[in-house]
């Protein structure tokens, strides 16, 4: 085994290879090479530890994994970490020797290591992430043969290793006081917000087995008490996130700095990385938005006195305040790349022999990062929506379906049995029926499943909505409901099953349709708080221009982007939102993500409320889903605990806080 004594220490980002997904050697980082070269020579070092079959996964593809040997050596009482890829692995045809050597870790002294994060999932390989004091993180080192615990135990014998108070899986090497504080201050986030509601983010690690009852377990009392007093240190999801934040944020700044100093210049063998920047979906997305925006650009007379200067890429005549988060670079590093949709083999692996979802959190995570193959949606959506319990068996679900089928028939019978004579004396019923009749024929009729005259699916939609308006007479029917029902019916097929899935969805989103619009206003308010947190210049712009009501995001939130994406994409987005994996309110972060992509357009052109509303409306059909979700994830992680605190408890789709009056009534109206 010979060492590649490369002077380049190329670090991809952490576990998730946010950027490296795109190309094999993407997202390289280069350490300060001069500094490192001094430590690359070390003769007479004592071998402390040697572990074979420790691998790096530069991409998702199994064929591109690089196996190697992990070593700990000691010289002059300093412990060094090395990882050397095996030479001449035939399976790695796609990666050249050069590529592989980029990942080589050559004798990094532990004096430069800040922390080691341990991941020991129940399923899959254990790995560690080594984070340097400089903030850079090496890519995860996967221990194919296990032994992470032993590795750490050995490290501990030679260096001072302290388990982080914030996260039991993080071991601090060069201890410093408060990672959380440091992280947040480096983000310059306002810290005046109250302590977060822990309930709005799901724990990332640990406690997964107790999660089996799914999101319905998010009890109201529990939530309130957590909101009021929350000082539990163990399994605090936001703290966990903040460690992520720490690992990643420093990476971001370094990333940004290095990129601008031509790290990826052509003559250093990183040509492919350059290309990646151009092909990056996030990048092209923003370009695309700029293009649409330019196409839409009009009407805005006074801000363009001299349009002859149009040739600038950015036609911003006004100085646009910089994005405090450097968002463009952020999501490259933070949001995980999307995976292909979950297939049936994968789904089966989540089920035990009797059909229970063993690790509901793992399932939700999987769906969060890639969605579901269409033919499986029928099976998975009822779980995500809360209609099926994760710990139910095949038999129990079969039984549930039959019981619910009868219950649905009974409910449906209630309005079906209304005679014309009775209907004459039942204005509310007539009005509702009239409204529903009018709307179902105006819902997705261009979509094959609902097109044509006398379409039976349209009839089913009408029956379900009318039945729902009896099931939940207080809420009744409101426009937008049919937009939610349409994909559900398309996926579930069966009328009763669709009804109960719809009921489950409305348990959370019903407040969107409250007569007083309270649910909508709460969400729009939370959105404004999130923008304030994540992009204060943009927030100030909205404030100055009387746009703080965020009505321009009304349609986005009311029907969760149903009108902004094509049908299939909407279903993909919804199942991601429904996992409630990182937060119950990912949709709000999606709003922020889109707004941030347009921020320079909005502020540069000095859009007023009308122009902004029109601009946002016309983004429909031009938003790239994958990069937007990725941005949203990045923003959610970035906002962390402060983000969660910006969203008042009970904000839909959180379950309502007060079970008393679910749907405030207004007697004047229908």
């Amino acid at each position: 085994m010979s060492m590649e004594a490369s002077e380049l220490h190329d670090l991809s980002d952490d576990a998730d290879y946010a950027a490296s997904q795109q190309q094999g050697s993407a997202s390289m980082m280069r350490c300060d090479s001069e500094k490192r070269s001094s430590s690359s020579e070390h003769e007479g070092a004592e071998l402390i530890y040697l572990k074979d079959n420790v691998a790096i996964h530069p991409t998702q593809f199994a064929s591109e994994r690089i196996s190697g040997r992990l070593k700990l050596t000691k010289q002059d009482s300093i412990l060094f970490l090395s990882w050397i890829p095996y030479k001449g692995q035939t399976s790695n045809a796609k990666l050249s020797e050069k590529d592989r050597s980029l990942y080589t870790i050559t004798a990094v002294p532990f004096t430069e290591v800040r922390s080691i994060r341990r991941h020991t999932p129940a399923l899959g390989w254990q790995y560690v992430i080594v984070v340097l004091s400089s903030g850079l993180a090496f890519p995860p080192l996967y221990f194919y043969n296990g032994g992470v615990r032993e590795f750490l135990a050995l490290v501990k014998q030679h260096v001072y290793l302290a388990r982080s108070g914030e996260d039991a899986n993080v071991f601090l090497v060069n201890d410093f006081q408060s990672p959380l504080q440091r992280t947040l201050s480096s983000l310059e986030l306002p810290s005046s917000l109250p302590v977060a509601s822990g309930q709005s983010t799901y724990p990332l690690d640990g406690g997964s087995s107790s999660d089996s009852q799914g999101r319905t377990s998010a009890g109201v009392d529990n939530r309130v008490s957590q909101y009021v007093s929350r000082k539990q240190k163990s399994h605090d999801p936001t703290r966990d996130l903040s460690i992520h934040l720490l690992e990643k944020f420093s990476l971001v700044t370094k990333f940004a700095r290095d990129t601008t100093t031509q790290l990826f210049s052509e003559n250093n063998g990183f040509g492919s990385v350059d290309k990646r920047w151009n092909n990056q979906p996030v990048h092209s997305y923003s370009e695309k938005l700029t293009n649409i925006a330019e196409e839409k650009d009009n009407e805005n007379h006074h801000s363009y006195p001299e349009k002859e200067h149009l040739n600038d890429e950015e036609i911003n005549l006004v100085d646009v305040p910089a994005d405090p988060l450097e968002f463009n670079k952020l999501s490259l590093v933070w949001g995980k790349p999307r995976q292909p949709p979950m297939g049936s083999k994968e789904l089966t692996a989540f089920l035990d022999s009797e059909g229970r979802v063993v690790e509901s959190k793992a399932l939700r995570e999987r769906v969060f990062y890639g969605g579901i193959e269409h033919q499986l949606r029928k099976e998975v959506w009822p779980f995500l929506l809360g209609y099926y319990a994760y710990d139910s068996t095949y038999a129990e679900r079969e039984y549930l379906r039959s019981v619910k089928r009868m219950e649905y028939a009974t409910l449906k019978q209630q309005w079906q049995s209304i005679s014309p004579e009775q209907a004459k004396r039942f204005t509310k019923y007539r009005e509702r029926k009239g409204l529903i009749d009018k709307d179902v024929v105006r819902t997705d009729r261009a979509f094959e499943y609902y097109e044509g005259d006398d379409n039976l699916n349209v009839n089913s939609m009408r029956d379900i909505l009318l039945t729902y308006s009896f099931y939940n007479f207080d809420l009744g029917y409101c426009q937008g409901m049919s937009d939610y029902l349409s994909p559900i019916l398309f996926v579930m097929g069966d009328e009763s099953e669709s009804f109960w899935c719809f009921v489950a969805l409305m348990e959370r989103l019903g407040p969107n349709f409250n007569r007083d619009q309270n649910g909508m206003h709460t969400q729009l308010f939370a959105l404004s708080k999130l923008v304030e947190l994540l992009d204060s210049p943009l927030h100030n712009y909205f404030k100055q221009n009387d746009c703080l009501n965020y009505f321009f995001c009304f349609r986005w939130i009311l029907i969760q982007f149903k009108r902004e994406f094509e049908y299939e994409k909407t279903m993909q987005l919804w199942e991601v939102l429904w996992t409630q994996y990182l937060t119950e309110h990912l949709h709000l972060y999606v709003c922020v993500a889109i707004l941030k992509r347009c921020r320079s357009k909005i502020m540069g052109e000095q859009m007023d409320f009308d122009t902004l509303l029109k601009f946002i409306n016309e983004l429909s059909g031009h938003i790239d889903l994958d990069s937007t979700v990725r941005d949203a994830e990045a923003l959610c992680i970035c906002a962390g605990e402060n983000g969660a605190a910006s969203i008042p408890p009970g904000t839909p789709p959180s379950l309502p806080l007060d079970e008393g009056v679910l749907y405030p009534q207004d007697d004047d109206v229908l």
Binding site: E306, K307, A446, F551
Partner: protein, 259 residues
């Protein structure tokens, strides 16, 4: 879709998006100077693509009375019985000609359901004209006019021109509101009135244009301070007398009804 460009630095003009797209699509940083010049040439040959004024309209009324269909008939000259219900607001735009002046109408088509009133109210701001629509075959949509009017009076500027439209006049056999009632209501509340059909296009053009003519007259009469955009009027380049307007060329102000 229009693109704002500047002509000789002093005369602001709009040209239609399809032209600008044609020439600006290759606007790399080096090629734009040329493309601008090309655009200008198009401009010179088609002065009718510019406008003297832009009026903001808002279409309001109960759900299902045909607001979106009226808009589509006006902007696209077609009737689409199958279309998605409106959530929030949709936009349309068209050029018309009044007094030989090209005028652009930017039309906001709102959702009609009661629940969304609080949102809809925010759209009144800065509207120069409103089309208040009811369905002549559904009495209740007529009965709700007063509450719509109250919203409009409360949230729009006082000089907003309101056109009352009794839609679906092609369905005379199902009529539930007489023409006289419509006329009476309009008279009482100082509205312009027309019955129309988005399906047959009857009076659709006329309704939009007559509203614009009324607004235009108010400008001529000095009712508006056109430099104040809260009146829903934006001034274009003002002076060039276009030959025949945009794609309609119609200045007819036909009123009446089809009852």
């Amino acid at each position: 879709m229009l693109r704002w460009i500047c002509w000789k630095s002093t005369v602001p003009v709009f040209i239609e998006q399809r032209y600008s797209l044609l020439f600006l699509v290759s606007s790399s940083s080096s090629g734009v100077g040329v493309s601008i010049r090309l655009s200008l040439r198009i401009l010179i040959s088609s002065p009718s693509m510019s406008y003297a004024y832009l009026f903001k309209y808002i279409i309001i009324g109960d759900t299902g009375v045909g607001k979106s269909c009226l808009l589509l008939q006006f902007t696209d000259k077609r009737f689409q019985p199958v279309h998605d219900l409106t959530i929030g607001v949709e936009f349309g735009a068209r050029m018309i000609t009044i007094d030989n002046k090209p005028i652009k109408l930017q039309i906001w088509d709102t959702a009609g359901q009661e629940s969304f009133r609080s949102i809809t109210r925010s759209y009144y701001r800065g509207a120069a004209g409103a089309l208040l629509v009811y369905d002549i075959t559904r009495r209740e949509t007529f009965n709700h006019l007063a509450s719509w009017l109250e919203d409009a009076r409360q949230h729009a500027n006082a000089n907003m021109t309101i056109m009352l439209i009794g839609n679906k006049c092609d369905l005379a056999h199902r009529r539930a509101v007489s023409t006289e009632e419509g006329e009476q209501f309009a008279k009482e509340h100082g509205l312009i009135f027309m019955e129309a059909s988005a399906k047959t296009a009857q009076n659709v053009e006329e309704a939009f244009i007559k509203t614009a003519a009324t607004i235009y007259k108010k400008i001529q009469d000095g009712v508006f301070d056109v430099s104040n955009e809260s009146y829903g009027i934006k001034v274009g380049y003002g002076g060039i007398p276009g030959p025949s307007g945009g794609r309609d060329g119609s200045t007819s102000q036909g009123g009446g009804c089809c009852g």
